[in-house]
Symmetry: D3
Subunit: 237 residues, 6 copies
């Protein structure tokens, strides 16, 4: 049985804000959580790092270190930086193959990535498209006998949901691991401008989940949209 999850993001920061709770929650339960960051987000999502005559390499090194620290806090099993550059993130057949190889090796049964549309950030759309292409490549016998059962794809929350046509159909209760997610967020001081914003996102999703939850304790949440129908053996838990 699979006990592995793959997260694919455009920039180093995305996994913390958007699915850090899911990562910590599943890692804590013994799931191997693998992470692929297609770029360091050095151009467009490291504003605070560009001061005076800062060099590109220094910015990338700083963001890499932050990502490694946050990933460790969340319990990530493996971390792969593709270093494709960003704003814009280029398409890359090599990268698609590398994600595909990761899928074949990890047998992940679920992939977390960006939603399909985002007019304010085409890097996110590109990542979604590359992740889906990698999924195809991983399930094709012609690319090797280690082909996989096609995993579910869950899109995590973008910065402005309505702008992206994001329609979450899953609310995950992350109350138990909130402290860990909060620590991971703080391990990314270059984007400290997002701390309060994503704390509020977690509280809103927690409030929405709490209204229909079975326990009174839900305070923090994360929202996801599934791309493929879930195959289930019951309609009630």
């Amino acid at each position: 049985m699979s006990s592995s999850m793959l997260v694919v993001t455009a920039h180093v920061g995305d996994f913390v804000w958007r699915c850090g709770g899911a990562m910590a929650l599943h890692a804590q339960r013994g799931v191997d959580v693998h992470l692929v960051c297609l770029s360091y987000g050095e151009n467009g999502e490291s504003n605070a790092a560009w001061k005076g005559d800062t060099q590109r390499d220094a910015v990338k090194a700083q963001r890499r270190a932050e990502a490694e620290a946050a990933a460790q806090i969340l319990g990530v099993a493996s971390l792969d930086f593709h270093d494709l550059g960003d704003y814009p993130l280029p398409d890359s057949a090599d990268s698609v193959r590398r994600i595909s190889d990761t899928l074949r090796r990890t047998k992940a049964s679920v992939v977390l990535t960006h939603p399909e549309h985002d007019p304010s950030n085409l890097d996110h759309c590109r990542t979604f498209e590359m992740a889906l292409r990698a999924r195809m490549q991983a399930m094709a016998p012609g690319h090797g006998a280690d082909f996989v059962v096609p995993p579910q794809v869950l899109c995590f929350e973008p910065h402005q949901t309505e702008l992206c046509g994001f329609k979450p159909n899953v609310l995950l209760d992350i109350t138990d691991v909130w402290e860990r997610k909060w620590q991971a967020m703080q391990a990314m001081p270059t984007q400290s401008n997002l701390w309060a914003y994503y704390e509020r996102v977690a509280l809103q999703r927690g409030a929405q989940a709490g209204r229909r939850g079975k326990t009174a304790g839900t305070r923090y949440g994360e929202a996801y949209q599934s791309i493929f129908p879930a195959v289930v053996s019951a309609l009630m838990e």
Copy 2:
């Protein structure tokens, strides 16, 4: 903990074709499955029953008997006929209140009903709207202290999915109870013209589920679209 499910349909036949598998499956596991049929479908969905000088009451009695037989096969706990008439089904505040009362009494955590849109069958849209209104009424403290936690609403498959904008995000494996569903279908000879059609629907949904399923045995399925985000404590089973 809730162990109850409510099914609300426009006509007597709908529950068998569209969610008979889910009903049998959950009943078999000890869930109380309650059924509300807003009409007998006597006008528009009993074509074979109208012969020569058949009277309306005879058609209604015949359809009622069929529904009772099918419901028994599926293991239904309670069955309520509202007898509103069909083609078209009228709006009814009384009926909304009666569904609301059923929700308060049964504490169902999930409601199965028709999807929101269907240009070929407005009775289905009306039923969806009445079920959602009943859900509101059931959760309002001002209508009595026995108000409920708002249940999930799952829409079952219409006759022509694309015409209705139906987008299933859940595929239920009903292989284990297929025989029972098939028997219930045959308990409705007035609509024998639909037997083969809905057997094929079940096989198609089974094939789609089987591609991504964990076991090799999936042969029959049913498709559902959730209206509200599911509140979950994990993203993998």
Copy 3:
């Protein structure tokens, strides 16, 4: 074989601007074109008629006379005024039954009516909904043995297409009957403010059709959106 068409509009003017070409074209070819106007449009679409102390009955009589004149020019076979009032047009089960009876009597194989959505004119949405309900009622054996094969429904063009989510998939060449449509428009002097507007609509649809047409002569057109899939025996003419 059916050789009958039914047009259902909210106000008396609608049929001229929106499907006058189709009516003239089919009437000329021997199709019986039946027309139902649910209101005289006396409140909201007869602005020029309300002067000084004009009485409601006078306005209605004037609009009725205009509609009769235009219908005659277009070759209408029967004309039925329901006189429900407008702005807003009320729902009416009686009216639905009356449209249903017209369908049973005429055996129309196609119904032309307003599109489903129009935030600026809810009378149009109401008419669409009533026409679809009447279609159901007409096809139900329980309402009489003269039930019909369900007709296609084609929505004609609203005033602001994008506002209404109108997506035409049929462009009808009305060049041959344009003169007749233009005469019918001029038979409605109360809405002379719309003459130039709908002449331009016809020219735009003609230009769009002409780009992909087989003959060079297309100058005027009308746009339609089908609600149900067309059942065809070939994909090319």
Copy 4:
């Protein structure tokens, strides 16, 4: 020139959470802000008020007092309670006429109301539909010579935006009147459970607006979706 705005809500609380900032902002600038509450929200949105043997009239009186206090803080010019009841809110032709009369009297150039869709709260959809019907009635010469230029309709933010298909295209900077909105929120202790939630909504909208704003001071915002195209004389401010 019009200097009047009309707000139409389903329940007494809605105007505070959803458009209290816009109300305070425009009132402060001399616009007459008129408010219509179709119900007191006594059944479904006054949970904290139903204790022991509380009577319906007491709950309604309490909510009315809260609404009057909040409206005064925001600078409302007139306040009209239709007392239709809620959960569910019934359709009412009388109420539509009354809103229409308010539009004719106030000559409001903009109407703020709920968005069209909300499966969790059909009272909101009903209100949207009644407001649009009232707009039609108000612009029809046949209902009186005081007919109006059709106002813009702006939908304010629902509780769960993605569930409602809410797509805001306007972000209003309410930083200057935030204190006033916050006071109005606190004047509604029956729904104190929503205070923190809607403070966070305002901060999120403020952050989104601030990213593209011209000044650095934007901290609080409100989101709106326009139903009709805006008629403008320039594309830049």
Copy 5:
């Protein structure tokens, strides 16, 4: 007058399952049916062919032979393999030019291809996009004086219609050529796992078409979605 049709598919199998009926039907009536397969589907849609140490060339040769046999059964006039590889299918400007040249040479008035969206199979989306680009190239005078009248584009049915947002507006009765389509399907033993699935698809579409058809004999069908409005000279057949 054009009497030619062009089919463009991603993989060799697609034309049989998705539009084999239309191909046989039109070929039988004297239309020249041209077929372009962008890849052999060797990687992702030839699972049964990959056994032990099978070589890629052998798989491709096997699928090519199957496609040629099936095409012959359906009466195809020309068959062009672009051999681009699959899972994923790469973009190719050369291939677009080659399709464009085929369009100019054949003067096809209709193109059958995959629908625009399919998250489970991006090769299908790529093919749609390349076919539309080729259509542009074929209609541009700057690419040669043999430019064409822009053909209609009809999308055939994907594996999971709702997942792809497929909304068919045309149902083609293929009862007369079903035996031929069934033979063509059996000429593709590598994908024998799809035989029963697509037989059921044909039966479902036949049943849907039969409900509104003019004759009682409709048993098998195919569904299509048109991209461009159809230009017609009548609204009834």
Copy 6:
């Protein structure tokens, strides 16, 4: 404060038909209007220029001269031809960088470009996508300290709005500059076949705007769809 606007089009003709009014209007008020044409439209939108043995360079020179003349009439501040070729327009990272540099240099607060979807003209979709990518590149600190506040993007009207899913939310009154737009149109004799078509478009948009406008003088208009929410300080003008 920004007083600059950027227009990005696929072909040389687009700016005249689609946003010539906006360009003239803002230029007349002192806004610097910058124009980028990604191709000369020599292949697909210069039909009248291809006669006998005309050479490509001659067609391009002719279209360039027309564009320069039209741009001068409209008061354009700068004009940049990227000469990428058309039908199809290729993707180009260089071009994206060049647009990005233009944005950084001009500090445009609004970008006018094609809408996202157009199945009949993929060059338009490509241009939209490249403009959005350039916007990202322009706002990224890692590409230079002269990064910009992200501009609004407004899509202008395509040839067939419904085919493109174009939903305008802004109607611009261009009555005051209509004569200038008309002159610019006539400066493009190669596309004289579009003169009457786009005169009618302007009249239809003018009529739509006039219905809700504040003055009686609106005769001509242009329609736009905003991609990002507008950040405003009031909901009424």
